[in-house]
Amino acid sequence: MPSARMQHNKLNKVLTGIRGLDDITNGGFPRGRATLLAGGPGSGKTVLALQALVNGAKNGEPGIFVAFEEDSAHIVANAATFGWNLPEMEKQSLFFLDAKPRPDVVCAGHFDLAGLLAALKAKADQIGAKRIVFDSIDVLLSLLNDSLAERRELYRLSDWLVSCGLTGIITCKNNDSGQTNLDYQDFLQYMVDCAIFLRHDLENRVARRTLHIVKYRGSGFYAGEVALSFGDHGVEVISFPLMPAYDRDSTERVSSGVERLDSMLGGGYYRGAAVLLSGAPGTAKTTLCGSFVLAACARGERALFVGFDEPANEIVRNLRSVGIDLRPHVDSGLLLMRSIRSSLTGAEEHIGTLRNLLETHQPRCVVIDPLSAIINSDANAIRRRMPEQLLEMTKATGVTLVCSSLLNGNDALDESTDIHVSTVADTWIQLSYDVLAGERNRALTIIKSRGTEHSNQVRELILSASGITLTDVYQADGEVLMGTARWQKEIAEKDAEEHLLAGVEHKRKELELAQAEVNARIEVLQRGMAVKRAELEMLLAAEVSRLKKASRTHQALWGKRSGDSQKPASAS
């Protein structure tokens, strides 16, 4: 009965309201039990605990925050930076207890939490509290200075939570902070029903906050490490639940913004496709991205342009110099330009930021320029897979994504193999340059384009004040020529062609002359022939007439001889 079990799980959990955390915990923290958040300084324990408390208070579950470490005034002030109005909530649904031990306090003998917990119970009943945070418990435990007493008080706390039906969030420093002899930590982990470890490290000089769930009694959970991202409205866990597959049967095309490129692709990019533009610096990747966005806005579609390390208004200015004016669309709110510092955070946080932008702006066309900034911000090989998750994300929502990827060299296939985007992307366009005869010319090739017939031809990409144009490259002697070299070669070939044409014309005339001569000779001969024929006929006619005449003469002669009846046999 999986559904009944799910229901059961849901009933026994409280949603933290923290994005991603409710996903990896499969529904939140255990209700009426203790959850441990252990981590070093700056790992986000306090904020995470407070956010879960505040979210509860907003949704009808008032809460108590017991601050052992910080003054509650500081906590309230810090929370204001996330836009949480705690003073307002403190009136009814939130209670802060300043429980910071005074520095001059002396411990002489055993003490316990009985009084504190009894008083807290009274307070909880008064405000109807459902959640309580102890931040951070180690401050209190260190006063006990006795491992037996520590365990006893933790048991007391745990039992108290159960008896009061309060969902407890206990924060605690962990061993990463360099302290030793903290055996209550191990004990805490056994005691609580859910234990989450938080970390704060520097990786390649980039601050990274991560967390992972160590245990969760009676519940499935995601055991891997996930990033904890600090946003404008609080923290967020960057995790990606499986997205429902988007209907990929779309045959709708969206223009790349460059007419010739559209025709090379058989009509443009597919709606919902992921397009990768890879190339070395200065190969007009950003310009192509800009063309795409401009075309989208011209169709009236919402668009998002995310640039890295380059101020948004500079991108707009630079694109205007090549005839791509995005300013009106930025002003109208159709296009959201956002610039992010790549070095500030790790890849997961960037993906989280992008996800938030996608959700708040709801664009249909998105540009990320360059995507490699995300990858390069993180050396860890596993996190290089993050862009894949981004692509899955955009595909799930049917967003057409164009992202560029900066290559260090000019060889796409060499450099891109470790960027997994190239396999996930539907269309991969490689931009490169050829240095020839003292100039650098841009070239565009479609490496792959799924589901479309596409041109296999290299095109020269020409940037001008009116934007991008693609022209045929000149191929000669197995060599691809571009730029001035193409122009020169074209001129030279044209000259040669003209020369050749002239030669042919000359030869034709010669041959015509020869033909005419032969024809003339044939005429002369034919006429000669006619003369001979006439002569022959004349001769024959004369002969016939001579013979007739001779025959007549012979008969006359024979008649004159008379008396002789015998005629000669051969008379006629």
């Binding site: 306090v105 002489a108 003998g109 003490f111 009985a114 009894a118």
Partner: protein, 110 residues
């Protein structure tokens, strides 16, 4: 005989009159709290004779007061008079430590 008042702010006359005024925060009848009260009484009788007063505050009855006075764990004893105030937590079983804090270290070693 010095007074031990369980209702704070009563017996103000006596509290003012006494040279040493302590406020002990307890959690009802909790063992550590009761032990602390016994230990404090014995200690005061030994060292201050009649010149002391102990206010007992039950945090179960008035938690907010304890919190506003910065008392979180029980038992906690605060020396109100003389200045400066001294704050000790625990059941006061560690007599050497308590005496040392109260300035009796030399006497204790005698």
């Amino acid at each position: 005989m010095p007074a031990i008042s369980s209702v704070p702010d009563s017996n103000k006359q006596e509290a003012r009159a006494a040279g040493f005024v302590f406020r002990l925060y307890v959690a009802g009848e909790a063992p550590n709290s009761q032990l602390a009260l016994r230990n404090l009484k014995v200690l005061c009788q030994d060292h201050y004779r009649d010149d002391f007063h102990i206010d007992v505050v039950d945090v179960l009855l008035s938690p907010e007061r304890a919190w506003t006075e910065g008392v979180i764990v029980t038992p906690t004893v605060v020396r109100v008079t003389p200045e400066p105030g001294i704050r000790i937590i625990g059941n006061l079983s560690n007599t050497d430590q308590v005496l040392s804090v109260l300035g009796f270290a030399m006497q204790a070693n005698d």
